[in-house]
Symmetry: C2
Subunit: 216 residues, 2 copies
Amino acid sequence: MIRTGTTVEQMVRAIADMIVTGELLPGAKLDEVSLAARFDVSRTPVREALRELGAMGLIAREPNRSAVVTNVTEAYLHSMFEAMAELEAICARLSAERMTVDERRALELEHRGSVRLVHAGAEEEYSAHNTEFHTRLYRGAHNDHVFEMVTQTRARLAPFRRAQFRLPGRLAKSYEEHGRIVTAIMRADTAAAGQAAYSHVEIVSDASAVFATPGE
Amino acid sequence: MIRTGTTVEQMVRAIADMIVTGELLPGAKLDEVSLAARFDVSRTPVREALRELGAMGLIAREPNRSAVVTNVTEAYLHSMFEAMAELEAICARLSAERMTVDERRALELEHRGSVRLVHAGAEEEYSAHNTEFHTRLYRGAHNDHVFEMVTQTRARLAPFRRAQFRLPGRLAKSYEEHGRIVTAIMRADTAAAGQAAYSHVEIVSDASAVFATPGE
DNA sequence: ACATTGCAAAGTGCATACAGATTGATCGAA
DNA sequence: TTCGATCAATCTGTATGCACTTTGCAATGT
């Protein structure tokens, strides 16, 4: 747990992590007194943290009800994946256009280095590499607002994307799709980069649909 | 002032309105005690409202400092306009593809009805029409998450876009650009709709750049 | 005159307290 | 047995209070 910042900031990070890592599953209730006890603070900072998490879309709040880890409807989940595909496509296009030589090289290295994880079937490690790869893509677009939007959307999708690398053959396919994106970016081919990124997310969307929890 | 919802919700709406309408200019300080006095509540709901507005990006907060209406740097402002153009393009493309017959008809009517405002030079009224026009575009995409992102981005850009219709000839140009978008959507020409929407925002971006407040 | 230190005023961060809402259980009646 | 009402337990919404931080000003020393 990071010790910097105010109590509220620490709690926001901690709770967001618990949601994104799956420690708190969609639908889980977050009552203020328990959280206060767990973090050994009063309810005031807890409430502010929940307020912020609510604005981020990670939890749902209703008056006089406990906060609940967002349990999106299938329709909304679909809209998020579609939005994610569009955002990734934007990042890929802009990256193909704007990445510095160093950024391009680093992206390619990151990608090439992951091939051994694919052969080893190292799901956990590949997942970490995957996060790094996409983050590089988002940064490479050199657009801070797009970066914020894509990061937030990714966080909200995390619980539904988690198990995708467990599907048979998904690792190798993911690697291949990344390869297409990298190639297009190295060639500064914006259209190809955008299309490759879009279809990459589309496939993840399909792979993840299985795990969507039905709305209450 | 809308009376529904909790105290905090009312305050969030009220303060967001003040920022978006320009009653509170970028850089303005929002101290908790004054706000509490102004809304006749304690500091607790005020703090929660500020927390939420901070998460929305409308105000900036630092520990032990008063909240400040976001005063974005020129670079960040540029990234927001660029993101806005991409988002509007997405909405236009999806609208061209997905709008129902009724939605298309309503959009066209809204557009045609505004021609008299252009001739009359009614800036205020045209501005209201403009908001309505774009909102229809966002809804027509039938993607809730994209709708949320574009709405939030629009809110953050509002202070910098306000004066655009005061520029000579801007009204007529805006009408013409809307026309191109409408035509493309009526024809279900996704590519043309996307391009028209993108360049529409680009022009607004240029028109608004003049009014950007310099970073501190 | 100018820099520095000390202090007071004001503001934020968090804890505690209380009021109102919700929920679930229990008891009674149909 | 089942439905309904009532009440207690629990939780959220808001107010208030206290401690710490920041900031501006003034007094003191150079």
